[in-house]
Amino acid sequence: MKQLLTGNEAAAEAAIQAGCRYYYGYPITPQNELINYMSVRMPQVGGTFIQAESEIAAINMVYGSAAAGGRAMTSSSSPGISLKQEGISYLAGSELPCVIVNIQRGGPGLGDISASQADYFQAVKGGGHGDYHTIVLAPCSVQEMADLVYDAFDLADKYRNPVMILGDAQIGQLMEPMEFHKKPQKNLPIKNWALTGAAGRKKNVIKSFYPVKGELEEFNAHLQKKYKMIAEHEVRYEAINVNNADIILVAYGTSARICKEVVKKSHRFEFKVGLIRPITLWPFPTDIIRKMSEMVQCILTVEMSAGQMVEDVRLSVEGRCPVHFYGRTGGGVPTSLEIIKKIAEIVPDNRVAHTLLQLTEVK
């Protein structure tokens, strides 16, 4: 049955349907629909809802419930996610599975409450201290928000790793018809490491402290091996209109929705525009972007930031073709026309300029 929900509500309900029974949050716009929804739904399913005293407390409550073997989640928006970084580093260092939802808003500092994609670096490069990665999933619709939240819990449990859902104010507050199709859980490893009271077994210890020389390096090698395995098996992206494309757009989340419109409009061009939409931002879809870079004239990365993901695109391309960037910041959202104008600017081809002129006249 289709329902009309905001992305925030869809994330909350999907978490509950995925078996999350421990939610800890702190109010911050634009993710408030999520915490409000959880305060109603968690008691209905016998779960725990706590409005924590801070984002720091919330992420540490998640740490506790994850260590105890529960499916736990927290959500926030950019400034609040900054506060959670300490906890996320500890979660990664203690190999605890959990889900963190970031409904991004503008920054730096208090910024504003409108949609932004300026937390990309923080999300995919670690964010906290130490060599670690969180798996980062980027939905571009309310439906995909729900679908990715299910997957986030499974991925977290599969790899004993925190998973971040990187949305933005538009994805979080937009209402769209969607459906919950709860999938049966895959064969996930048993949590025999969890703290339950050491009944009939050796004690379990959850920790990230390795003071004996050499132990920490060994543990880091283990983490890196795990990250390599994740990078090999879990990359996800959507490719649209990429066969024989002249130019490829790379964008995720809200920016990708606008780029899809550009691709659609470009059918009137004699010039072919394709789109690679990363769904996993970490691990990044490096291989497909590299492959595309050998076939196209150039790549244009579109973000609601001053240019963050474009660095990973350039690292994937390694100079095989020019990589351009178009971005808006501080609540600015790129329009399809702006993107087409940018394409006309970077592609020395009259056909694009001609089509652009037509589009502008139609408008």
Binding site: Y22, Y24, I50, A57, Y63, L195, G197, V205
Partner: protein
Amino acid sequence: MQSIYEKPKMLIDTATHFCPGCGHGIVMRLIAEIIDEWGIRDKTIGLAPVGCAVLAYNYLDIDMCEAAHGRPPAVATGIKRVHPDRVVFAYQGDGDLAAIGMAEIIHTANRAENITFIFVNNAIYGMTNGQMAPTTLLMQKTATTPSGRDPINYGYPIRICELLAVLEGSSYLERVSVSSPENVRKTKKALEKGFRTQTEKKGFSLIEILSPCPIYWRMDANESMKYIDEEMSSAFPLGVVKDWEN
């Protein structure tokens, strides 16, 4: 021959990293004794803090969890909500609980979480070489109060039990010390009461234990115990501060 004093089974037979004369070993032994005597190894989960007691999980043979500096109350909350029938305790020092983790301990008490907190107050940051703690006594010399703690610049020692007592969510608060065999016995009784507060689901309990740090107090072990009795205990009066049974 009858044995009258033994190493508790829950205390792992290993060398500890504690300095000579440190009080942490006494407190850990008491926790191990209680877990043995109550037969609750199967249902106990402990939290180790950042600071001198971080390696508690190397000494206690029970399920244990580390927490970031100041965060044991939040982590313990997360554990207790998953396992409400287990005995969950957090072991914290004065920097952990009364400085960086003040928000967490107050709000955990305020939610009346059914958890026992063991607060070891030695009025100093031991692991980082002896800086001022929130509980450092007035005029006490530390690495960061080289002329002594002057309240004009550094504020006053914080009395945690009294602070938490005003919250409706706190149920049992007692301050004890490990300065003498008699006080150690009292400490054990207070810890047992704390655990019982939890098993009878009476809510938040905290036992503040005045404990020596001879190395960073620049004293020998005997002087340290005397310092607890004569100086510390007047700034931090021993006794029950709040009790749900009275």
